[in-house]
Symmetry: C2
Subunit: 271 residues, 2 copies
Amino acid sequence: MPLTLTSLGCASALPTRDTYFTAHVLNIRGRLFLLDCGEGTQLRLRQLGISMGSIEHVFITHLHGDHVFGLLGMLSTMHMLNRKHPLYIHAPAGLEKLIAFYFAFLGEREPSFTIIHEKVETDGLSLILETDTADVYAFPLNHSIPAYGYLFREKPVRKSYPRAVAYCTDTAPRPEIPVWIKGVDLLFHEATFLEQDTVAAAKYLHSTARQAAQTALSAGAGQLILGHFSSRYKETPAFLAEAREIFPNTELSTEGRTFSVPRSFIPTEAE
Amino acid sequence: MPLTLTSLGCASALPTRDTYFTAHVLNIRGRLFLLDCGEGTQLRLRQLGISMGSIEHVFITHLHGDHVFGLLGMLSTMHMLNRKHPLYIHAPAGLEKLIAFYFAFLGEREPSFTIIHEKVETDGLSLILETDTADVYAFPLNHSIPAYGYLFREKPVRKSYPRAVAYCTDTAPRPEIPVWIKGVDLLFHEATFLEQDTVAAAKYLHSTARQAAQTALSAGAGQLILGHFSSRYKETPAFLAEAREIFPNTELSTEGRTFSVPRSFIPTEAE
């Protein structure tokens, strides 16, 4: 009964020679959720052998190009593959312009499937979706445009504890975030900058690796994975070192890595 | 004094695990021209170490998504890199919708550079641009929407013959094409299908490898390079074999390959 988070990329607004835009695929017991969709996401799905047809829900954190430009190509490809089942795109207000542009591009043709924009807008932790394997919550982040983090709580199964994953990008620190995501097993958090560039991080409403680690610590998270690294840094080990000073169980969410949250079994009376 | 054509990708509308959308960079004595801009093009430029800042002219053959969706991300990145010099996008009518969408996305911000859409519309071979190193012509192709091929004729330099490159995609065969591009040193031509799928090629207004080779032969081209392969074929050697039966000097324009047209020196009287 897997719960895994696979990284399609860890670049921020400017990709590098070896990175792709930050996006992830969350697999909760066979249900795939796509988290953000920057340019090239459909190529990354194909390269990693992840079936586009298995994705029913896309969650967009915010409407900066590096998180959404891949939607156009992905919708086109789904149409060309004659997709029939609907696609739900959970995203802040404003995504309609992109979807309208996609339809304008199609001209007189109708896509083979229904595209539903579920508008995300909330001041606090808010249930936005129930599926058979997970409840999904949105919560506001702290960025230069409206941005939302997502919290996935696995539906309980017999004899094991439910698992939870939180996805936070792009954002500067915000005191409520660790409260909203308290106890998550796996936290993806942007670390666009290192602490040496705290001023830039504050200016652009991003986080440093240290701040991401602080959020993970305050939330009592199980594991922290970092991504969305600025291209100004040539190497990423510094992010790891900086975060691990505060939160030892940190990894880097680099291209193609998959992180698992194993099941924890509830002890029976005999145990 | 190089004249080279570098392939960024050879996929057609549906990319595969190992391919990227068809696009090329033509370098004529230091001037870079980008030919088409499907999703991921900016990533490919970065991966191949090709400077985006050195590109002043983009030539779009037609407005199918796999040839244009990369413009949004590329324009965004150019703006973030604080580009100052203008970008000319030579493209059929309709590109304005994409540029308008890009501006809508930017909101109140102005891009740091001017974006000029030079509309391409012609019934025959037509000079559309003169630069210091080349004259550029457009000519109509034979596709399901308005599509244009491009012909680049090097400006003469002392003591050597000018060189010429033609770029033909997407297109079914058309008798005038070999006339318009007569004598080109290097011809890029789409070969979406193999001859066994001639019916599909005709239906979707594409070419087979054999047809591309026939065009090259009729045009008296120097070298033919093929690309824009349909994802239905798992291997590409069949394209080569099929084309070489008609036109031996054929290569495949696969990811990252660069093709050169060496200078030919004009013999002096003493010779």
